[in-house]
Assembly symmetry: none
DNA sequence: ACATAACCGAGACGGTACGTCATGTCTTGCG
DNA sequence: CGCAAGACATGACGTACCGTCTCGGTTATGT
């Protein structure tokens, strides 16, 4: 016998959920994450505070859902495949760099990251719902490159992706150095060189 | 013309500063960063709140100084140089991995990072006072390796270090995958392979 | 157009109100008015500070309500009417003098007065809710005396009451001279003499 | 053997004292008594806080001295004596009423009174240094009236003065009713009637 | 003439309280 | 019963002052 409140999700009002997520995202953009409060979200969404507390455990979770809903990663992700890995990867990494530079993305994503740092549950949710699909799409492209002989067939693709993306992520997060298109290109070139296919011994 | 109060640092009481930094670090370890308040730091340090506000602009800055004072990076940093870069780098990167796993380091450093994400000033301070000295020590070792012919003399050392450390940092921060000693070794090997000196068929 | 929060009195918790007023009165008695803080009232009443700020504009207003609630002037006030004005007034004025000497009344009432001096709103509230009912009761008795031919029918009763009470009030407030029962009697006699009915030599 | 600081008044800097009193008075006028702080007085006077604490026990005492120094009651006080008590008293009481209405006097004097209410020492100082000389001057005039047969030779002059001034004081302090010149006149007339000389029994 | 003791300005300090904001819980009344 | 509204106890915020305490720098004699 438990006294826990267990709200019935079927009775949930979709309109409230939407306006909460919208308000949360708008506030993070306008006043920043730390100045965004549950109270301000509720007030802006025209919603009672309890309605937020009923469905989300924390401010971080609300903002997480906001960003997720807005990013719309839930649709299938697919990377370009022109046959030229280097060109394709450069295009993709340049797009990532550009995204990080977009103020409309930057604020919510920094907020997301600052929560993920502390909250292992959010981190897991992030991996599963945001990172994993993208990760898998990238690997599809890389396997295609392996099949085309542009990449070492034994390359550890997880490691490769880390070497490619972690430096970008770190530069953006810690602002250690400017994030430029040239940097993206340089990373792609360096990493591809590292995982280049073994030089085919042309003669016996 | 400014009305800002500019307290005179020469009149600052060293004892207060010390007990504040100590209290801040202890609280972050004991109750976590977000539950550490300026008020609790002041109270634990036996200090008036104003004494904190007089010398630091934010909780983040206090914790930053705590970590800095505790880490003692201000002393010269020097890396081992046994003549074998790979062995030396593996030792150093394994130490980094171990440090990240130490609960006594983890909490304050996660706190630090969560502040740095938002606060560009703190990020700059971090770069200058914590990262830069260590970075420089690492480069000294790498240049020594270049001189010894163990590394491409044209290698971009900044990029090399990013490829080496950013993946570790990202795994730790986002908990994307376990941080093991083997992973450290693998990273060192991969990166050294990338920046290996060109095979000069000098003489038969 | 006003952005002011206007709390809904119907949702007010009576229990909180009561414990706040009780705590305020107790604290003024125990530690004095100036050492009584909103914070200490809240803490003693087991109430959040905001609950005080929501319903009262200032410490003075809280203490005012405390005194008012305690004095219970809101009930009808009625003065003795034995048929002998002089005796009745002496009794009433002696009671006033005694009240001023009672330490349990003195502290809160001095507190009240010190606030009223500065705060015209409080002064108005004092007149309307504390002074007026008593004033009216006194006038009822005086009119009865006029009807009985013990007082000049043309006497300005407001003036009469001021001449009677202001000296007592002043002596108490400024401690210019001891407040004794004899003094009360002397005042009554003097003032009654001033407003005695004209000697009408009606018939021998 | 005492460790008490006993500052040597002979070494006191007159300039500091003056600027403190001046600053105190100005602040009470400008921002009101309760918003006047020791710190603001010191700052405005260009004086260290300690210099105030060295010579005065409390804010009330400083303001008291300010008002005293400004009022300049220390000079001899003398009331008009035209031979007509009623006219003279009306003139004096009207002046008092006017003074109370003057904003430049009102603020500091309300401040004074609010301190006197709580602080018996200040009350005594007030009586001795401000009230007494004026009181004595008034009595001189009244005795002259007694000698002139305009006043009952047995009149209790203290009581008379209380009946004359307390109502004015009360009206001003509590704002119970407007303080007009007519009111002053009415008071004088009423009180003089009360203490009129006994009707001389013209025939035996 | 020169120590030496005080006052003095400045302001850092450990505190208390301020009045505001947000938290997460609870209650009320509407639909 | 979900919900908007919002009162509530709690607790932290950042600020203002409190009264005490150094810190140098003038005075201002007193030998």
């Amino acid at each position: 016998m438990s006294t826990d409140r267990k709200p019935d999700p079927s009775r949930r009002r979709q309109q409230s959920r939407d306006s909460i997520l919208e308000a949360a995202l708008a506030l993070v953009l306008e006043v920043g994450y730390s100045k965004t409060s549950i109270e301000s979200i509720a007030s802006r969404a025209g919603v009672g505070k309890q309605t937020i507390y009923r469905w989300w455990p924390s401010k971080g979770a609300v903002v997480f859902d906001s960003v997720l809903a807005h990013a719309g990663v839930e649709d299938g992700v697919q990377l370009p495949d022109t046959g030229d890995v280097e060109a394709d990867l450069k295009q993709v990494l340049r797009a990532t760099v550009a995204e990080f530079a977009d103020p409309a993305f930057e604020a919510p994503i920094r907020a997301l990251n600052s929560e993920i740092i502390f909250d292992a549950d959010l981190a897991a949710a992030y991996r599963e719902r945001m990172a994993a699909p993208v990760e898998e799409a990238k690997k599809v492209r890389l396997r295609s490159a392996q099949a085309a002989g542009q990449l070492d067939p034994d390359a550890d693709l997880d490691l490769l992706l880390e070497l490619l993306y972690a430096p970008v992520y770190q530069r953006w997060l810690l602002r250690t150095a400017p994030l430029t298109q040239e940097y993206a290109d340089q990373l792609v070139e360096t990493v591809l060189r590292t995982f280049a296919p073994a030089r085919t011994p042309t003669s016996p």
